[in-house]
């Protein structure tokens, strides 16, 4: 970034701080239209959801610790896998990224707030209700949704319990929240950049979120459509997915994955932006290939609309359709590779230090790439017939989502926490958190590759004896990873309550507008736009 602020407005800030007019107590949080408050709420909400979804993962791993049924029955096990997936995708990863967008995008582009602050409040505050509905459905007679987070028809229509209605309603609310958040991001970036903040000067986090927001606007209505079709098939006598009425169950999968594949990029593009911010800071060297990073992100986003059926190779598609989706999927490896190469080139001949954000970012690059490799293997259709719906797939998407998306979010929190709180986090505890997470997450997910290759299907509560040792091992990794995250909470609370005062720039190599404002960032920033040369 060649950002230079010619008129630092610190002076004006201090004047304005006296005119905050923020109400105290709960009203501040209920009524707030401040992007920083809303960002904080999103992040705290995501953290709570991460622990609730994580608790469900612990139930899953407990039952899978040994063959045979010990703790829960298969029906409840299916509810756990389903709700774990829904909560982690829609409740943890997506709101965490939205929270980071809220906090950072206005500060990164020199805007005073998000463009549509009231809608911003609304898009956050409907979210807790969506998840309350989803979680309460677990207590209905017949239990909560148990058809997997992918809710394939007709398991989710004719053969599901009555919690399906609540599930559909809850997904609708999540969708509305995401769409509003995405509109806000696009409008803010399009209209509120400070003078001189041209498109190709925007930080990559802003770019990746801009592109993500377009993906969201395009696919969340598709999700809303497909859940509505599930609802009407179940309750109102339509037969979109029922062959007996002229429908087709595979149609469900086409619609779902037309949403679902771009959705996985929604959960990883902002991560690319975060890593592209952290690596240059701690390498003390400009990001290599900025322009190619922007183009690679856009290419990935466009390709993400052309690969959805690679989730459906076993459904019996015509061979030419299968070939098309295989080639298109393999092609995605190219721009993704470009990103990884650019990050490595950024590190090359830099002067690196290894604070916690950098450690998580480095782990992200290696482990996300491993997830990318297994993704490439999954693209090879004949081999996919053997991998499909096994633990190999579970290993793959947890590498890209946990050591990918979640690690990037954790990296981002450590990176910007001093800016948010004005205090440095405890570096020693942070390093403990990193190393415990790194080791346990690999004990947890790496052996899943082997279990999957050996033939263990996913979404089963009980398994053949040959898988016993590995599953016990994986479960121990899972419990350790769960426990390691308690260190994170400890670090966060400790940092929020005090610590070494952070400087404005926080990190020696940090560049960008967010580092020009004081730490902690004042309630209102950039009320007068900075000018960037």
């Amino acid at each position: 970034m060649t950002v230079v602020i010619t008129e630092p407005n610190d002076h004006e800030h201090h004047e304005h701080e006296h005119h905050d007019h923020k109400p105290g107590g709960i009203k501040r949080w209920l009524y707030t239209t401040n992007h920083k408050d809303i960002g904080t709420m999103y992040l705290v909400f995501a953290l709570i959801m991460f622990f609730i979804g994580g608790a469900m993962a612990m139930v899953i791993r407990l039952e899978l610790f040994q063959p045979g049924m010990q703790f829960v029955d298969p029906h409840f096990f299916n509810q756990m896998t389903t709700v774990h997936g829904l909560i982690m995708v829609f409740g943890a990863v997506m709101p965490a990224f939205t929270g980071l967008a809220n906090w950072m995008i206005p500060m990164m582009i020199g805007a005073p707030d998000m463009a549509l602050p009231r809608m911003n409040n609304w898009s956050f505050w409907i979210l807790p209700f969506a998840f309350l509905i989803l979680l309460l459905s677990l207590f209905m007679p017949g239990g909560g949704p148990s058809f997997g987070w992918t809710f394939y028809a007709p398991l989710s229509t004719t053969y599901s319990g009555d919690s399906t209605a609540l599930f559909v309603f809850s997904v609708h609310i999540m969708g509305i929240s995401s769409i509003m958040g995405a509109i806000n991001v696009i409008v803010t970036i399009w209209n509120m950049r400070a003078p001189g903040m041209t498109w190709m000067k925007m930080p990559l986090f802003v770019w990746t979120w801009f592109i993500t927001a377009f993906l969201l606007i395009m696919v969340m209505p598709v999700l809303a459509g497909v859940v509505t079709m599930v609802l009407t098939d179940k309750y109102f006598g339509t037969s979109f997915f029922d062959a007996a009425g002229g429908g087709d169950p595979v149609l469900f999968q086409h619609i779902f994955w037309f949403f679902g594949h771009p959705e996985v990029y929604i959960m990883i593009l902002p991560a690319f932006g975060i890593v592209s911010a952290i690596i240059p800071t701690f390498a003390r060297k400009r990001l290599f290939g900025y322009a190619s990073m922007v183009y690679a992100t856009a290419s990935i986003a466009i390709l993400s609309f052309l690969v959805w059926a690679h989730h459906m190779f076993t459904t019996g598609m015509p061979v030419f359709a299968t070939l098309f989706f295989m080639y298109a999927t393999m092609l995605i490896a190219v721009p993704t590779g470009v990103k990884v190469f650019n990050w490595v080139a950024t590190m090359w001949r830099g002067a690196m230090t290894f604070e916690v954000p950098m450690m998580f970012a480095l782990a992200f690059i290696v482990l996300f790439t491993i997830g990318g490799f297994s993704g490439l293997m999954l693209a090879i259709t004949p081999a996919d017939f053997q991998y499909h719906d096994t633990y190999f797939v579970v290993a793959h998407f947890h590498y890209v989502l946990v050591t990918g998306a979640v690690f990037s979010i954790v990296a981002a929190v450590y990176y910007w926490l001093p800016k948010w709180t004005g205090n440095m986090y405890d570096e020693t505890l942070g390093q403990w958190h990193f190393w415990c997470s790194l080791i346990s997450v690999n004990l947890l997910f790496f052996p899943m590759h082997f279990v999957g290759l050996a033939g263990m299907p996913r979404r089963i509560p009980d398994y053949a004896l040959q898988f016993a040792d590995f599953n016990a091992f994986i479960s121990i990794g899972g419990f350790l990873f769960g426990l390691s995250q308690l260190i994170f909470v400890w670090v966060l609370i400790k940092c929020a309550r005090g610590g070494v005062k952070a400087t404005d720039q926080v990190w020696e190599g940090a560049e960008g507008l967010e580092w020009e404002v004081p730490s902690p960032a004042p309630y209102h920033t950039f009320e007068t736009p900075p000018v960037i040369k």
Binding site: D242, Q386, P457
Partner: protein, 380 residues
Amino acid sequence: MAKTRSIRWSLPTLLLAASANAAAMPLNMTKGVTEISQEVYNLHMTIFWICCVIGAVVFGIMFISILLHRKARGVQPAQFHESTKIEILWTAIPVVILIGMAIPATKTLIAMEDSSAADVTVQITGSQWKWHYKYLGSDLEYFSVLATPREQITNRFEKGENYLLEVDRPLVIPTGQKVRFLMTSDDVIHSWWVPAFAVKKDANPGFINEAWTRVDEPGIYRGQCAELCGKDHAYMPVVVVAKSPEDYAAWKLAEETRIADAKAAEQELLAMNMDMSELMANGERTYIAYCAACHQPNGGGLPGIFPALAGSNLILNDKTAHIDIILNGKAGTSMQAFGRQLSLKELASVVTYTRNAWGNDTGDAVQAADVYKVQQGEGE
């Protein structure tokens, strides 16, 4: 198994066991027993090694950089930050590698999809939670259900060697012949998978999918349903026995004879009356095997998804409707049509059992002839 028990009690033992017994579980994809499965394995290994080489290069450079280019060594950061040449290079090289990979993958895929000119065709129908095999061009058809006893699943008995991978009647196919599978489903989507054949194909309700295999080695091959199909998804294994063409022909003849004999015996049964205790004992066995997964061993069902049978209005007040729902199922629910899955004797017993167990004291002894009447549309 002793191995499993040691895991239960001791963590250090577990960690040792995990390495000592690693040989028990293959660490890689099976090569399988067919030409196709061998090709699939080769593709898997090719792409695996490509990933390993790329990984070694990228991570290698990254770790060298981490070792050398650290501030602690007093280095000054370089200033370079872009190069169009290098961007083009590392876009082009992966494209070439991928094209190299796509060619063999395409060849194998096209071979896998060619199910023409089959010697034997079997229609495979999935339903919650069992497989049904029907040999086209013959009267031979039967259900294949999990044979692992419930007591092993609930940890009351020691688990057997093929825990959850054993069925009462496996699919039998001839070796050296092209066997075509036509997959479909009666309810939700299932997926028929035998790793040794590299065949995994979804069974979609209302549609038919095709797959094929040609097995050269006689043997027993095990797999599982691969698509989440509800509560007992973990409990619908696939077992295929490949026999030499001679053994296969002999087996098939014996099975066809057995089916014909059983049909004749059913006709005799219509004239017979079983006593209540025999009906109840038979009925309980059948109930546990076919009904208890949903309606539960105590007849209490699962509220909100599977109705209770104990105290059920339909059972207590309408015998014909009771027999009818067991015979023909209930459209739009998980209740299957058991008319074609169970013998008249089993049907009569299970009707009697459910009419008299758990306080459903109707006192009715339902005979095979009563069931037959409803089946023929002559209900009382």
